[in-house]
């Protein structure tokens, strides 16, 4: 069988898997950031943020 076919197959499989992995991580980041933004818009603050704000105000 043609060797070039095996080489191409190995590179295509690798490229697809790595692109997929990168895309999955990016989508995960986006989704989590959106959740944080929604919660902040609803007025939820993390304890450290509230403390930072108090410190800045005093």
């Amino acid at each position: 069988m043609n060797h070039a076919l095996f080489v191409t197959a190995a590179y295509v499989v690798s490229a697809l898997a790595l692109l997929g992995l990168g895309a999955w991580i990016l989508l995960d980041q986006r989704a989590r950031q959106k959740e944080m933004a929604d919660l902040e818009a609803a007025g939820v603050k993390r304890r450290s943020e509230r403390k930072a704000r108090r410190d800045a105000a005093s």
């Binding site: 060797h3 690798s14 898997a17 992995l21």
Partner: protein, 255 residues
């Protein structure tokens, strides 16, 4: 302040997830760009290099297969160090690092197995054999899957962190088994030709492209790992904020 004290402060700074998010946000675009450029240079050099006199063009699979196999083990060692960080120093980012690395390690291990299989078919005449090297790497892949499940099994990350760290450390035994499998047992897989005490046995025209590709893919691994750690930190913050919102709703309902 004494030098030792400054050092401790600096380490404590890095342990702070907010500081980590700031720093990694600045470093990531550069790291990602350098990773892509170095990988592209390494692979281009691989395709410009002469073909192997026995293997012909299939030797080009080496420039991806070998880096993937190295990274599959390096990722596990990163997770083992993170496990120590959880158990010994209780570093707040250690468990985040372990959990974020597991799926990336699984993908690189799967790719090492897949590209090896595609290389084995024309060179060995078979896609797969259950010999020492292939089986021990397959076990590594299963361990990654187990750790992915374990780190995501419990709602409270503090509880799963300890369990995942202990399992990870027990699994480290597999790494030397993978490394020496080609010497201990009869196998179709060739013995080490780069990481040898007496120096590499590959001709430099093939060795340099291999090392540069390996560096590029390693940088890509760390880019993915830091990105996944950031997502994990945000995931934990969201769950803390949700809990606070629920508590506030309880309080409001009580009054």
């Amino acid at each position: 302040m004494s030098d030792a004290a400054t050092q401790t402060t600096r380490l404590a700074d890095l342990a702070n997830p907010t500081r980590f998010l700031d720093l990694s946000g600045k470093v990531l675009p550069w790291l990602g760009a350098i990773a892509l450029i170095v990988t592209a240079i390494g692979l281009a050099m691989g395709f410009a290099a002469p073909e192997d006199y026995q293997q012909g063009s299939t030797v080009r699979i080496m420039y991806i297969h070998v880096p993937f196999a190295w990274i599959s083990m390096m990722c596990y060692m990163v997770m083992a160090v993170a496990a120590l960080g959880t158990l010994v120093w209780k570093h707040p980012l250690a468990d985040v690092s372990l959990k974020a690395a597991a799926p990336i390690g699984a993908v690189f291990t799967a790719l090492a197995l897949a590209t090896g299989s595609i290389w084995g078919r024309p060179m060995w005449g078979t896609w797969w054999v259950w010999d020492g090297r292939l089986t021990s790497v397959f076990v590594l892949f299963l361990m990654y899957l187990g750790l992915i499940a374990l780190t995501r099994a419990l709602d409270d990350p503090a509880r799963s962190a300890r369990a995942a760290a202990i399992v990870t450390l027990v699994g480290v035994i597999n790494i030397p088994i993978i490394k020496f499998s080609v010497e201990w047992w009869n196998t179709l897989h060739q013995p080490a030709s780069v990481m040898r005490l007496d120096g590499p046995t590959i001709h430099s025209s093939l060795l340099w492209p291999l090392l540069i590709s390996a560096l590029g893919f390693s940088l890509l691994f760390f880019t993915f790992h830091i990105m996944a750690m950031r997502a994990e930190i945000w995931r934990r913050r969201v769950s803390v904020m949700r809990r606070m919102m629920a508590k506030r709703a309880d309080r409001d309902a009580a009054t």
